[in-house]
Amino acid sequence: MPCPNRITKEKSMNYDEIEILLVEDNQTDAELAMRALKKHNLANSLYWAKDGAEALDFVYARGDFAGKKLEHMPKVILLDLRLPKIDGLEVLKQLKTDEKTKMIPVVVLTSSKEERDIVESYKLGVNSFISKPVAFEEFLKVVSDMGLYWLLLNKPPR
């Protein structure tokens, strides 16, 4: 199955223009999410990281992302919880305990409705917790609403 690794067609994408960092290990969920955002033209500046380690490398301009400007931060990070390598809660913890990254809005976007996940995320400083609806229409609506909100309505600090 052909899998679009990046929404942007160009391989030489400019990491410094990325506004949404999607952290999602499930390909179909990622695709559905990007489809929903795309409907509102919100997916052009999105980078999809497949695990927690990649997400942190991206944020801290390490490894593959060494050329990225460290001071450039995405407008929002959509973070799944169950992730390979580094778990979503651990990623959240590192971002929210670091002075340089703690101001980046992080939205947990997960299948879980477990109370403990919600509580733990808020304890670590999550900005929003969204449970992915199973029904596709609802899912589309939730993701597009969320994207519009964080990219257009919300005013992050500069």
Binding site: T28, L32, K132, F136, F139
Partner: protein, 862 residues
């Protein structure tokens, strides 16, 4: 008896002095004779003894001055013509005198004499027949002295002796009394020996008393080692008064080994000995005379264990007796040696002695001085003046010369002389010669002196002994009183002790019963790791009797390491004084390995000193097994809970994702490729999407059901009426357009978890809404009823109802009584309700009738 004494030469009778004067020689002879007669007359006249002569008929014809004094005559004329029989107070005494004179011509002896005034005195005298030159009896001569004083002194001496004898007897009686009391004392002491502390006290009292008795007291074992003694013991035996002789050999105080043999054999044979007289010696060898008493103390088995003895020092008394005897002897000698010596002095230097002066004074013949100066040189210097004055008094003033003075014998011994003398005077009254007589009165003087001394001594001794006796009696009385008091105390203490012992015995028995009955092992151990006492349970588990266990240590039963491990715990308790509780350890026993829980606490005596530990052990083997089982189960439960949790998490997270993919991509197919599908194709895709929706619902319900099972119910007061109202509002909102008649009663509050109860009510009310859907006049009531004091909340409707035959399946998971076509549902709703109610400890039941409605009742804690 009386010593032979010199009889003076017989004087010539009166009127015979101037017979026959023939020739010169005759004249010279006559002159010499006249002189001699005159001399004899002088001796007769001046003698200290009463001299008298009598004719053949016994009528007195001449007496001297001493005679007149002795018999109480004033003048010679009064005496002359009296019969010699008048000398005797008792005429019977005269007969033997007459008899002796008749047969032997002389008599010597004593008799009771009578004076002219009728008073009597004792006289010692001699009588001799006087014969003329031809040997014919012409009369009698008699010489007497008064010995009343001497006899009285002798009598007094005898009386004193008797007095002393009586005192001695008294002393002896007192000694016996003392000994008897002492025996009582010893008997009491033996009795005391079996007693406890009081005993030692009174023994100490006894000891203290004995310590200061004058009587020597000792106690020794059979080997002669001193066990106890008092101060007098040391004193009498010449040992330093404060030296402790305990544990030392009894000193050898025997002068004569034979005495010792006799004493010991008597003591051994008879068990005791009384007032045995011993010629003893002190350790320094000084001879002493003691009276010893002793007895053997035997033990219950009759074996001699020790000797108790007393003794008195009688050395001083024996010496006093000896002295008395000596003085008696002297007195006797004095009485026997009365004698007269006659002398003549020319008033110049020459002295002539008549009598055995040389023998008396210890000189060879004619050795005693025959000069005045020589004689004066033998006089005692203190007496020279007296004698000189007396002589002068006689010579110048014709005062009677009667003096007593001391004169030295050849060997230096002083003798007392009683001297009398008279100066002979010529016609002009001028003295020209001196004649006199002396009597040796030394023995009398000495006897008097000795008497005086012994009298004083005796009186002193009687006083002393009386005081001693009184003191001893007083002490004995005090001792007896103390003994009586001690005995009473002991009796009282014994009674008390007995009562206490009985009570103690009772308590011990009770304690033993309790200890043996408790289902635990109880043991007392001392600081040497030995069991002092254990209870029956402990003995049982060790498989031996209590008696076998007591006195042993655990190292007698266990390998060293294991025993040491137990002992280390004990030691910690003993050294720290802190109890050690809940020691859980395993131990081997004949019944196999046991798990035990032990408390060890310090075992203290009455003074609070730790003397060991008290242990209290419970066999927790079964408990331990159960605990282990529980632990295993808990562990496996925890594991399965863990699994369940991760399962639920997986379901919630991972199961939804593919569902969403199915739904999402089905939708994408419809969106992107809808124009290429016919109606059937679109319907089929819709079926796919409907089922993903149901499955999503099913997963949610199952997760809820699972979560409720795992979730702890918090407890608070829940306003059930308000909760019902809120639930109904929420459901009505989701069912807009439905016309339902809702009734909510005044539900009493309940104790529980409001979130869980909300979930239960939502499910019940949702069901009622669902099952009344076909009814045009749907009715739902939320209320409560009280049965037997228990509140039953209920949710009742007039909906589809159910067949009571299947009521048992109502609350099962995935159990459905209606088809999906009639009523949608997952079959989990009521299962969740039941789980919530059960979680609260409540009950739930359903009632229903097909087509008429259903009602669900449940209880909650108030």
């Amino acid at each position: 008896m009386l010593k032979k004494k010199k009889t003076p030469k017989q004087p010539a009778a009166r009127g015979t002095a101037t017979q026959k004067t023939t020739g010169r020689k005759q004249t010279e002879n006559e002159l010499r004779l006249v002189d001699e007669l005159r001399l004899k007359n002088i001796v007769f006249e001046t003698s200290a003894a009463a001299n008298s002569t009598a004719d053949n008929q016994g009528n007195i014809n001449h007496v001297n001055a001493a005679f007149l004094r002795l018999w109480g005559y004033r003048t010679e004329e009064e005496a002359v013509g009296k019969s010699v029989a008048s000398f005797f107070a008792d005429q019977k005494d005269a007969l033997p005198v007459m008899e002796a004179l008749k047969t032997t011509g002389q008599w010597e002896g004593e008799f009771l004499a009578k004076r002219t005034d009728g008073t009597t005195f004792i006289t010692r005298g001699s009588a001799t027949v006087i014969r003329d030159e031809s040997g014919k009896q012409i009369g009698y001569h008699s010489s007497n002295i008064d010995v009343t004083g001497e006899r009285r002194a002798q009598e007094e001496l005898r009386e004193k002796n008797e007095e002393m004898e009586a005192a001695n007897q008294e002393l002896s009686a007192a000694n016996e009394e003392l000994t008897a009391s002492e025996e009582e004392l010893k008997a009491a002491e033996e009795e005391l020996h079996v007693q406890m502390l009081e005993l030692e006290k009174s023994e100490q009292k006894f000891h203290d008393t004995v310590k200061y008795l004058d009587e020597g007291y000792y106690s020794c074992n059979i080997d002669g080692l001193v066990l106890d003694h008092n101060r007098a013991f040391n004193q009498i035996l010449g040992i330093d008064i404060d030296q402790d002789m305990k544990g030392k050999k009894l000193p050898d105080f025997w002068q004569n080994p034979g005495d010792r043999k006799e004493y010991l054999s008597k003591l051994m044979n008879e068990g005791s000995i009384r007032n045995f007289q011993i010629n003893a010696k002190t350790i320094s060898g000084k001879k002493v005379f003691v009276m010893a008493s002793a007895h053997i103390v035997k033990d219950d088995g009759g074996q001699p264990v020790r000797i108790e003895g007393t003794f008195n020092d009688f050395t001083e008394r024996v010496r006093a007796e000896q002295e008395l005897k000596t003085s008696e002897e002297r007195f006797r000698t004095a009485a026997e040696s009365i004698t007269d010596v006659v002398y003549e002095w020319d008033l110049k230097e020459k002295l002539v002695w008549y009598g055995n002066i040389d023998g008396l004074m210890g000189y060879p013949a004619n050795g005693f001085p025959r000069t005045l100066a020589g004689w004066i040189a033998t006089l005692h210097p203190e007496d020279v003046d007296n004698v000189g004055k007396a002589i002068e008094g006689q010579l110048k003033g014709a005062k009677p010369y009667a003096v007593e003075y001391r004169i030295r014998k050849k060997d230096g011994e002083w003798r007392w002389w009683s001297a009398r003398g008279t100066a002979l005077r010529d016609g002009r009254g001028e003295p020209y010669k001196w004649v006199g007589a002396i009597t040796d009165i030394t023995e009398r003087k000495l006897a008097e002196q000795a008497l005086r001394e012994s009298k004083v001594q005796l009186e002193q001794r009687v006083i002393e002994r009386t005081q001693e006796l009184q003191a001893v009696n007083k002490e004995m009385t005090a001792i007896n009183e103390e003994l009586n008091a001690s005995n009473e105390e002991i009796t009282a203490a014994n009674e008390e002790l007995q009562a206490v012992q009985e009570e103690l015995q009772k308590q011990r028995e009770e304690q033993r019963v309790i200890l043996d009955s408790v289902p635990a092992w109880v043991f007392y151990k001392n600081k040497e790791n030995r069991f002092i006492r254990v209870n029956q349970a402990f003995a049982d588990v060790m498989g031996i009797s209590k008696e076998q266990l007591e006195g042993k240590s655990l190292s007698d039963f266990y390998p060293r390491e294991q025993a040491d491990a137990f002992w280390n715990d004990d030691l910690k308790v003993i050294t720290s004084g802190q109890p050690k509780r809940n020691i859980i350890e395993s131990m081997d026993s004949p019944k196999g390995t046991l798990w035990v829980q032990t408390d060890k606490i310090p075992y203290r005596d009455a003074q609070g000193n730790i003397i060991g530990i008290i242990g209290f052990t419970i066999d927790i083997t079964e408990l331990k097994k159960a605990e282990d089982l529980i632990q295993q189960r808990t562990t496996s439960l925890e594991a399965s809970n863990q699994e369940l949790e991760s399962f639920a998490y997986s379901v919630s997270h991972d199961l939804r994702t593919p569902l969403r993919a199915i739904d999402g991509f089905s939708k994408i197919v419809i969106e992107d490729y809808g124009d290429k599908l016919d109606d059937e194709g679109r319907r089929l895709l819709k079926v796919v999407r409907d089922n993903t929706s149901k499955m999503s619902k099913l997963i949610d319900d199952l997760l809820t059901y699972s979560r409720i099972g795992r979730q702890e119910a918090t407890t608070g007061t829940v306003n059930m009426a308000a909760l019902a109202r809120s639930v109904v509002d929420e459901i009505e909102q989701a069912n807009t357009g439905r016309q339902v008649s809702m009734t909510i009663g005044k539900l009493p509050p309940a104790a529980g978890d409001s979130a869980l109860l909300r979930q239960a009510l939502i499910n019940l009310v949702s069901n009622s809404f669902k099952f009344t859907k076909p009814k045009p006049d749907a009715e739902i009531e939320i209320g409560f009823t009280t049965e037997a004091g228990v509140t039953w909340y209920f949710v009742k409707d007039n909906g589809a109802g159910f067949d009571m035959r299947y009521a048992g399946k109502l609350f099962g998971v995935f159990q459905r009584l209606h088809s999906q076509e009639e009523f949608e549902g997952t079959g989990v709703g009521l299962a969740i309700v039941q789980r919530v109610i059960h979680k609260h400890g409540g009950k739930i039941r359903g009632e229903g009738e097909v087509g008429k409605g259903a009602a669900f009742y449940f209880t909650l804690p108030g």
